[in-house]
């Protein structure tokens, strides 16, 4: 039996290339330098931004305690996920690492599954402490121990889930 044509494969006109031109196809080093300089200028605001993001995480944790449910859990996950994605840019890689661990916990325990409240709180408190004390050195022994401990607890919890 002849096969119908189930797939249409086509190349749309490259309007983007027509619009921006450029012939060499490489990274525009001048533009890149301008961007890095603009980010440097913006970096004075990073501490305040991280303050707000950590505040949002603490508030989301409070709301989840008051009214546990899919909506408050999703808000808590979004707050942790944002910090995971941004804190390294804001010069706080350890805060990013702890938020990544919390995101993993919140994201991988199935909806409706029991979230270990103590472990969630431990993450939120660790984020607050590291942010408050402005610990940015990833080799800081106390922070390394704390991160490793939290990672291990999350792995243990997920193995049981």
């Amino acid at each position: 039996m002849a096969r119908q044509q189930p797939i249409e494969l086509f190349m749309p006109p490259n309007m983007l290339k027509a619009k921006v031109g450029g012939g060499l196809g490489g990274i525009d080093m001048g533009a890149l330098k301008r961007a890095e300089s603009a980010l440097e200028n913006l970096s004075g605001e990073f501490a305040a931004w991280l303050d707000q993001d950590v505040g949002r995480l603490v508030e989301a944790r409070k709301q989840f305690s008051k009214k546990p449910g899919a909506e408050s859990r999703a808000a808590l996950l979004r707050a942790a996920h944002d910090i995971k994605g941004q804190a390294a840019t804001f010069n706080s890689p350890l805060v990013a690492r702890i938020a990544a661990s919390l995101s993993r916990l919140l994201g991988e325990i199935p909806p409706g599954g029991d979230l270990p409240a103590g472990l969630v709180d431990a993450h939120v408190q660790a984020v607050q402490v590291i942010h408050r004390q402005n610990i940015t050195d990833v080799k800081n022994p106390m922070a390394q121990t704390l991160c490793a401990e939290l990672d291990a607890k999350v792995s243990e919890m997920l193995a049981k889930a």
Binding site: L16, L24, A96
Partner: protein, 169 residues
């Protein structure tokens, strides 16, 4: 120097985090992009998309309400979408291969794992300018071809899900 006229670009940035929007917009403006539109949700992005018909969309995955994945599907398949071929760059805190696959299956052209760096954003922009992918329309998918490299050497069974299904029938 690549000589791109980034000043001619219109870019829509969709992220529910105001700081991430500010970061991405700052980088784009430093590249020379003069028209950067920002939306704090996929729902707010849709009318902006229809009014301004951007050349590139950069969007976050995890947002309250409609996700970046759902918005990408709408861009590709909704009859009201102004340009179903618009390059979509998914910017996300997700980093697993499975998430990359999901973004690709929704119709995203490129994927950037946060934290965002100017060099990565530039390289993804250059990629959508210089190496656009062919588009594929099947019963279950419309979007950029998900096979990154052509493989003319392959002689095994058909791997596209609906072609394989039809061959079996």
């Amino acid at each position: 120097m690549s000589g791109y006229r980034f000043d001619r670009l219109k870019v829509l940035v969709v992220d529910d985090n105001v700081h991430m929007r500010k970061l991405v917009s700052t980088i784009l403006q430093a590249f020379g992009v003069q028209q950067v539109f920002e939306a704090e949700s996929a729902e707010r992005a849709w009318p902006l998309l229809r009014e301004n018909n951007p050349d590139v969309v950069i969007l976050d995955w995890m947002m309250e309400g409609m996700s970046g994945i759902e918005l990408t599907r709408m861009i590709r398949t909704d009859a009201q979408a102004p340009n179903p071929f618009v390059p979509v760059i998914m910017l996300t805190g997700y980093t697993s291969v499975d998430h990359v696959r999901q973004a690709r299956d929704a119709g995203a052209n490129e994927f950037i794992a946060k934290p965002v760096a100017a060099k990565t954003l530039m390289s993804r922009l250059v990629s959508v300018i210089e190496h656009p992918r062919p588009f594929v329309r099947t019963k279950i998918y419309f979007g950029p071809c998900r096979r990154r490299r052509a493989n003319d050497e392959y002689h095994g069974p058909e791997r596209r899900a609906d072609t394989a299904q039809q061959a079996a029938e």
